[in-house]
Every structure is written in C-alpha cells, then in structure tokens.
C-alpha cells in the first residue's frame, strides 16, 4: 500500500535545471518569469503529472481559498437553494465551500465555528441556529480579520454584515393583504422570536393589525419550531379555538402546508372559511390546493449575493465593513389560498 511519490515543484525544478522558486512563480503566471520558461514549466508539470499541494501553499501564504458555511440544516428548499447560489459564485471565483450544519443547536454551531476557524477559512457565512443567544464564538474571526457574513438568520450587530429581506415589511404586506380580504381574526404562526426573521415578521403582523384597526390578540399568535409536525399540531389547536379564525399568516410555508392539510381534513374550506398565506414561496405553494399565497423569498439570490459580497471583500474590491445590512427585494405572491373576494 505504499503511496506513489508525490510530484513537487522540486521535481520540476530539477528536471528543468532551474530553481523551485522559478517553478512556483512560473506556475502562478508571475509576470517576472520569462514567457518561454513559463511554457517549459507548464509542459513539464503536465508531463510529470504535477498537482499543487494546497496545504503547503496555504501554510505559507495564509490564504486557503476556502469559505466556511454554517447553516441550521441543509435540507430545506430555501437553504439548499441558498447554498447552491453560494457554491456557484464561489466556484466561479476559485473558492471552495466547507459546509456544516448546526442542526438548530447552538452548541453544535459553536463547535462548527471552531472547526472552521482551525481550518483557517478565508471567510465565514452563517445563518444562526434557532437558539443561538450570542455570537461569542464568532469573535475570534473578527480578531483575526476574517470576514463573517450572516444571511437570513442574522444577528443584530454593528460588527457583521448581513444579507436579509425586509421581514417586517413582508410580514406587514401579508397581513394587510389578509385584512383587505376581509379577515378579522388572523392567526400568526410564529417561530422563535430570538431570530430576527421571526421577530420581524411578527412585528410586521402586529403593526399591520394596528394600522388597520384590527385588535391584536395574543392568543392568536402560536409559536413553534415551524416544523411539519408543528403544522399538524397547530391545526389541532386552531380547531379547538372557541371561535375559529378567518385567516392564517404563517412565518413559513412548510409548516403551513401541513397545517392546511389537517384543516382541510377537518372540513375547513380554504380560503372561504380561513384564508391562509405563508412565507418563502416554497415549491409546494404551486402544488398544494388551493395554491398558496406567499412571500417570494429568493434563496438562490440570497446565496449568490452573500457569497459575492464576501468574495469581493476578500479580493479587496469592496469592503464589507462599510456595509451593515443588505436588504433584498421580496414580493407578495398572491394565489388562491388567500382570495376570499374576487379582486
């Protein structure tokens, strides 16, 4: 099982009777190396089957061309889209992604952050776990001048840049839309309000109610982890309310879909009895019946934007420290699930 010997720049140098320095520079296309020499080096490298050893280089140069990504979980429609967007941008620019999941657990998020740090990622992209309360684990990155960017689940801090949508406005829009459809008792399925996204959506909801003279009833705000199971449970809770609501605004589609199915099973008509609207514009929106009104939340674009900004910063084209927040445009996509009246 002996490993075949690794071909190094020294091998190339020896065969060409030049120094390793020249080979190193030649391979990098360094301008001070003679064109002709460069060609010879390239040829010999190919001939010998040379492959650069990234570690050796990174050790010295302190650049790894690696971006760490920590997400709550990578198998949701939104997340995998965002990751796909990041990977695309990164790959195009010669960067690679090391991806890890916190599984919504702050402790694991901290561990992962350590790993990323040890791996000397050039930059870090994070979407926070459900229960992360502070970002002490990210401070070593700042100390080291390693840029950290949040996306989606951001942390309110002067120190880091985040890519988000205007969750308040989106929550407001959805709620207003439901009110305009005649809803008076609107349930809000909320997530952990520790996270900006859920907090802001709830605020938007409250404000819209207020602005339109609809009383805010805390009993109508159901907080959960917004999972599929939570959707089912929520439906049961709703069905047991002394007075049924006439609208639901959910902070995510996934949960709402399962809630809808359960409500339908119980004979509730949507949107006639209850108008519903979600958040994310998940693929299922166009598949469930009735089609689901939702906020279009461009995962791929968010991923691209985040990665682009981070890489531009790394390349020195821009400085993200000047930017606190990047807000992407969203859009309310109205579909049958919320249309009580013909518009």
């Amino acid at each position: 099982m002996s490993q075949p010997k690794e071909i190094t720049i020294y091998d190339i140098a020896r065969e060409l009777n030049i120094s390793a320095t020249t080979v190193s520079r030649g391979l990098k296309g360094h301008p001070t190396i003679n064109k002709n020499t460069r060609k010879k080096i390239a040829e010999k490298a190919k001939e010998l089957g040379y492959t650069p050893n990234t570690f050796a280089g990174s050790l010295r140069s302190k650049r790894t061309n690696t971006i760490g990504v920590i997400v709550p979980r990578l198998n949701s429609y939104f997340m995998s889209s965002a990751l796909a967007g990041m990977e695309h941008v990164a790959n195009k620019n010669g960067y690679n992604l090391i991806i890890s999941q916190s599984l919504e657990d702050s402790k694991k998020e901290i561990e992962n952050a350590h790993t990323m740090f040890n791996r000397r990622v050039d930059g870090l992209i994070v979407s926070l776990a459900f229960n992360t309360e502070n970002i002490a684990h990210l401070l070593p990155f700042s100390t080291r001048n390693i840029p950290v960017m949040f996306f989606d689940r951001v942390y309110n801090s002067e120190q880091f840049t985040g890519v988000v949508i205007d969750n308040f406005a989106a929550g407001y829009d959805v709620t207003r839309h439901l009110i305009k459809q005649g809803c008076k008792r609107i349930v809000h399925l909320a997530g952990n309000t520790l996270r900006n996204v859920y907090h802001d959506r709830l605020e938007g909801y409250s404000q819209a109610l207020k602005d339109h003279g609809v009383p805010f009833d805390p009993h109508l705000v159901i907080t959960s982890n917004l999972s599929e199971e939570a959707g089912v449970e929520t439906a049961q809770q709703i069905l047991q309310m002394p007075q049924l609501p006439d609208g639901i605004f959910s902070a995510n589609d996934n949960c709402l879909v399962y809630c809808m199915l359960e409500l339908k099973k119980a004979g509730i008509r949507i949107p006639e009895d209850i108008a519903v609207a979600g958040f994310n514009n998940d693929r299922v929106c166009q598949i469930i019946e009735p089609n689901l009104t939702s906020i279009d939340y461009p995962g791929y674009a968010i991923g691209e934007t985040t990665a682009t900004h981070l890489i531009n910063h790394l390349l020195g084209h821009t400085n993200i420290h000047n930017t606190n927040t990047i807000v992407l445009r969203t859009e309310l996509v109205v579909r049958a699930s919320s249309l009580k009246r013909k518009e």
Copy 2:
C-alpha cells in the same frame, strides 16, 4: 490591518519550558505523555487561545480529515437530504465536507474533481452528472489510494464502490402495480439512460410489461432531463397522443408533479383517466392531489450509508475495495394517484 500574531505550539512550549514535540503530542492525547504534563499543556493552550493550524498538520501527516463531495446540484430534495446525511456522519467523526456541484455538466465535474484532488481530500463521494461518459478524472484518486465512492448515479466499474437502490426492481414494482390497476398503455418518463438509475428503471419497466403480457411501445417512452419544465412539455406531448395512455410511470417525482398539474388543467382525471406513479417519494407526494404513489428513496439514509462506509474505510475498520455495491431497500408507497380500483 496587521494580523495579530498566531499562537503556535512553540509559544506553548516556550512558556512551559518543554519541547514543541511534547506539546504536539500532549494536545493529541498521545499516551506517552505524562498526564500531568498533558494537563498543563491543555491549560496553557487555552490560556493563550491556541488554535491548531490544520494545514501545517495536514502537510506533514498527509491526512486532511476532509471528504470531497461532487453532486449534480445541491438543491433538490433528494440531494440535500443525502448531503445532510453525509454531513451528519462526517461531522460526528471529525471530518468536514467540501461540497461542489457539477450542474449536470461533465466538464465542470472534471474541474471539481481536480480541485478536490489538489485539496488532498481523504476521500471522495460522487454522484455523476447527466452527461459524464467516463471516469478518467477519477483515476488519479485510485492511483493515490484515495477512496472514491459513488452514490445514486454510479458508474459501472469494478474499481469503485457505489451505494444505490435496486432501480430495476423498483421500476419493475411500480410498473407491475400500474398493470395490476388495469393500465394497458403506460407512459414512462425516462431520464438519460447513460445513468444507471434511469437505465435500470426503464429496464424494470420493460421487463414488467413483458412479464405481464403488455406490449412495449417505444412511443410511450419519453426521455427528458426530468426537469419541471420537461414535466409541462411532457404533459402536452401526452395530450397530443392519438390515443391517451392510461398510466404514467415517471423516473422522478418532480417532473411528474408538473406534468400532473398540466394534465389536470386539461381536464384529465387522475387516477380514473390516467393513473400515475413517480419515483423518490419527494415531500410533494403527500401534498399534491391526489397524493402521489412513489418509490420511497431514502436520501438521508443513502447519504449516511455512503459517508459511513467511506469513513470506516478511512479509519481502517473495513475495506471498501471488497465491496462493489451496496443496495439499500426501497419501498413502493401506494397512494391515491394510482388507485384505479379499490384494493
């Protein structure tokens, strides 16, 4: 912008008046180091805020604790589930994942393989692009004794291990099920038959027809890239057939769902006019109406299995070279979309 100096094992060594060797071993929990010394080292390391530099270590030890993953795209339900499974196993074992997408393009897959090689991944996991015809780009890994494992889209080779399901059997089961429901003209939505998964499903379909005396009609096999758009187009093709089919077996759910929506729009009743069944047991199966019969294709488990085997091999617990293929169990999940007769 000067970087704060990096803390190394030498700093710890100096402060403790011992050698760097001892520090290195101490941190790794090497048994020959005195327990007491070990404790002192650990304390000092924490005190100074030491973080190991993975590169330096990897350079010397030639182990990176990194697994490369190349997938066609990472934003599909199946893929992101598989990746989630892999990440979970890898993380548990101290490995990290470098993930890249080929975007179904063989050329990009080759580039990505190079990158992975240069990064000296300890092992590689691949699911092939639609149009990859050979695996020359993976041979350097074999030469170097770097284990490569396929999953899902595997390459038929003695050389590498793959984790798959029995696509033939699954295709056979679905088709037989449709036949038993009384279908006589069953359309098959096929993918690129260069890929085992689609090839085998088609074979299973053919064989089932044959075994049950249903004639095979090549016009009923519609090959596409199985995208959402393809689903819509396929529906239009079907609607223009001189004689409508009475069943559809699609090689994936995603495409079929869009096809169904289009057919329903045209007034086709499912399953009465056309019974349909898909493949993957995607989340949408339980959401679309009627609920979709499908083959449960356990993405998360496939990811876990693949990563587990690879890591066990890396740790020397098992040797994947003894294993050619690992076949996971699948199951036909029957739902309303295919039930022409009460069972």
